[in-house]
């Protein structure tokens, strides 16, 4: 994944962006994700393989399953898996199954981030990664798009989503109705049985939490522990994400105004944001720029979709989020350089299998998003955009809706750790609370400074290791999550530290502690 590598230099912790993505604007997913997937060197005949970005030898293979379990003789799929072998295998009959987000991300391609996050678990247990059907190497349902050369010059409103969707569907050699979560769960079980694990510890991130919850519902006997990180409760459609994004933007503005340096530099951030939104809602702003990557001249068509998309995606990662006040402020001054830089990060980075994404969302979320809910969301930019797009694409995709029981809360007494990030722009803490409804042996920890993917940004991964090794929630405490890891916002295009003029003023009155930094 090319994106994964840029993010790696920026910060290890940024990498979670790719993994944790829940639901892009569907058009972006369908058009631009084609190159987001990198070939791993898995040779099914050979047990050893390597994954881009991870030097370790992995054990790889696949299990052949029918595409449609009702027709076992029909088309067959190879469900690929990779095992990160335990450093010191002490529990050979157990593994931790890590389930990727998206929906549509490949778990195997995300092996390096899983490996880093789960390193303590891996010391004694295998980490099992499965490319869910329709993703990665398991019959990838990808749509051919126009590439990203034109992405910056494109006005998204001009896109014909219906015909793009039809083109995509025509290009797929698959029965797209067979790529929902519950069918994919049977594949997971087949892989587990094939590898001979008696018990699984499950870690689900983002959309992966839906798979984990279904696992709890359908195969509770094989689960030892469950961790739901950035949880999507069964009870509601993911299209509610628009509210979560708005909430996160509000928190961003609050954070800046309560930070002395940020507030000093960007006193009118909310107005700035309003101003840009209003202006772009009227008409896109075109300007002559240089391509962020190739330095070729091009015309940037700054639309509201690009601006809000860049904003939204930047909020997934704490240290990219730090650039937002500056980027918004510059945009209000008619300088879209920083926004373009942020948007460019999102273009080819998602690694989302758009076809599989549609199969899941159209079957499990779009159809149960009620008329009432639609009306309530009318004022929300993101929800409106998403609903409009799915209204065009889902009828073409034409997958049956899930049963009503699908939306029932999960009832379980399996030790379950639920993690939510206070700043999460996708799955806010209230969603975690909803998931807890009928979990009798669960704890819900809210990390005050984390965004989406708590385990990647805090001591959450240590809590998972503790849960897995104890097989119990006993003694698990959220104390370490409250450690203040907040960083400064960028005050210009260069620095996060106090600007010289401001610093002089501050140091003369020995108020350098004003940013709340504790030297201990």
């Amino acid at each position: 994944m090319p994106q994964a590598n840029i993010m790696h230099t920026a910060s290890d912790k940024e990498r979670q962006t790719q993994l944790a993505l829940w639901l892009l604007l569907p058009l972006a997913a369908m058009l631009f994700s084609l190159a987001g997937h990198a070939e791993t060197d898995t040779a099914p005949t050979n047990d050893t393989c390597y994954v881009d970005g991870l030097p370790d030898r992995l054990r790889c293979g696949f299990v052949t399953v029918p595409e449609n379990y009702a027709h076992p003789e029909g088309r067959q799929l190879n469900i690929h898996y990779a095992v990160l072998p335990a450093i010191k295998p002490s529990f050979t009959k157990e593994a931790l199954l890590a389930i990727a987000g998206g929906p549509g991300q490949s778990a195997i391609e995300n092996a390096p981030t899983f490996d880093r996050m789960l390193s303590k678990v891996r010391q004694q247990r295998d980490i099992l990664l499965i490319d869910q059907r329709g993703t990665g190497q398991s019959n990838l349902l990808q749509c051919e798009g126009e590439g990203f050369e034109g992405a910056l010059s494109l006005n998204e409103d001009d896109l014909d989503i219906a015909s793009e969707t039809q083109k995509c569907l025509d290009g797929l050699d698959a029965d797209v109705s067979q790529y929902g979560s519950e069918i994919a769960l049977k594949d997971f079980e087949a892989v587990r049985a094939h590898l001979g694990y008696d018990k699984l510890h499950v870690y689900g991130i983002s959309y992966g939490t839906r798979m984990a919850q279904l696992y709890m519902r359908h195969y509770p006997q094989v689960l030892a522990t469950v961790t739901l990180d950035g949880v999507v409760p069964m009870q509601q459609s993911v299209l509610h994400i628009g509210d979560a994004i708005d909430r996160a933007i509000g928190l961003l503005l609050d954070d800046c105004s309560s930070n002395a340096l940020c507030h000093g530099q960007f006193a009118d951030l909310e107005q700035d944001l309003q101003q840009v939104n209003t202006r772009l809602a009227q008409a896109p702003v075109s300007s002559q720029v240089r391509d962020p990557l190739t330095n070729e001249p091009l015309t940037l068509v700054m639309t509201r979709a690009k601006f809000m998309g860049a904003l939204r995606m930047a909020m997934y990662t704490p240290n990219i989020r730090a650039l937002l006040p500056h980027a918004i402020h510059q945009a209000a001054q008619d300088n879209f350089q920083a926004i373009m830089g942020l948007y460019a990060l999102t273009i080819d980075s998602t690694g989302i299998a758009a076809g599989m994404h549609s199969s899941v969302v159209c079957g499990e979320d779009w159809q149960r998003f009620s008329q009432v809910e639609r009306q309530q969301a009318e004022q929300n930019y993101f929800t409106r955009e998403m609903v409009d797009a799915f209204d065009l694409s889902c009828p073409i995709w034409n997958v049956p809706a899930v049963d009503a029981e699908f939306s029932a809360p999960i009832t379980s007494n399996i030790p379950t750790l639920v993690l939510s990030g206070q700043l999460d722009p996708a799955t806010p803490p209230s969603w975690g609370e909803m998931a807890m409804a009928q979990l009798s042996n669960a704890k819900h920890f809210i990390a005050p400074y984390a965004t989406h993917g708590v385990a990647y940004q805090s001591c959450g991964n240590d809590l998972i290791a503790q849960l897995v090794s104890n097989n119990s929630l006993d003694g698990l405490s959220d104390d370490c999550l409250s450690k203040d890891v907040r960083r400064n916002f960028y005050l210009n295009a260069n620095t996060v530290e106090a600007l010289p003029a401001a610093k002089q003023a501050l140091s003369s009155t020995s108020h350098t502690e004003a940013q709340g930094v504790n030297h201990d």
């Binding site: 962020p292 920083a338 295009a493 201990d520």
Partner: protein, 378 residues
Amino acid sequence: MINTIIAMVRKELIDAARDKRSVMAGLYYAIGAPLMMCGMFMLLIGQITSPEALNITITHGERAPDLVKFLASDDISQGDKADRKEIELIISQDYASNMAKSRAAELTLIADNSNEKLQSSIRRIEKSLQQYSAEMGSLRLIARGIDPKVVQPIKVTIEDQATSDSKGGMILGIAIFMMVYAVFISGMNLAIDTSAGERERNSLALLLSHPVSTRDIVLAKVTAVTIFAMLGLILTLIISKIAYGFVPWQELGFSVNITPDFIGLMLVIGLPIALMAASLQLFVSFMAKSFKEAQSYLTIVLIVPMMLSMAASYNIAPDTLQWLPVSGQMQALIAFIKGKEIPQMQLLLSSATTLAITLALMFGMERSLKSEKIVFGL
């Protein structure tokens, strides 16, 4: 003839088994050495791995609050003064003003890099600082509308062929060396007792007065000592297998696993070495005038196999060394544990050299037992 040899071997073993000194020498090593190794490694792992919370001195942290915060999120902070490592990070006076203008902002890291206990901590700080620098660099480019990929012209993909077993190869080199050494140590006391000791107790002359050939005597004594050495090796392997399981190797990112396959191979490879060790020790002890003298000679002689096997484990040896006894076999064992192909030619040759040396020593002993000087210690 065979019956006589069997009778002699049986007698030597009974005799040795009742000799506390011989038995304890073997036992102490076979049990003690693996346990001590494990204890040592446990201590070492604690010493060389950087502590979870790394406390250092940060001078003028107030000049770079965000950096301090970043380090803290990596568990690097000032902490209690008493717990601080001898590492100091100084933030320059113009750090913030340089940063604000995208000029290089200076940090000074003061530490003694030759201090092994600090090395991993120093590397951790350096890595953390680089990460911070790279993160800021990327965000500065993004703020300018440039994709950070631009400053990463090359992407290097590493496919490490190591398994978590083979990463422990260096440690295993020492462990294997210790096992090979068990062969030398376990039989040593018996070797001295049955040669120099036998002469000192005047039973050697009596033995030679009986109708047995000196060749039979040599064969019997070498066999008895070899059996003792192999018993020591087996015991060492069993203790090692159990004890090594308790060391938290995974904290160093690898595992040390003594498999039944390895034990089997070790025993097969160990046999010629045990034969050589037995004949070498007997030969030297016969040459010595007394028990004490034999002990001091053997202590010196044992350095040779030790050097050979050290050379093999640290790969400091010239290639010719791989054909020599002990080091050739050690390299084969290390290759096996690393999951590589065993260098068969090399193993065969070094085993052949080992056996050739054994035969030469045995022949020499057979001759020397006919010599009055040796028999009567003249």
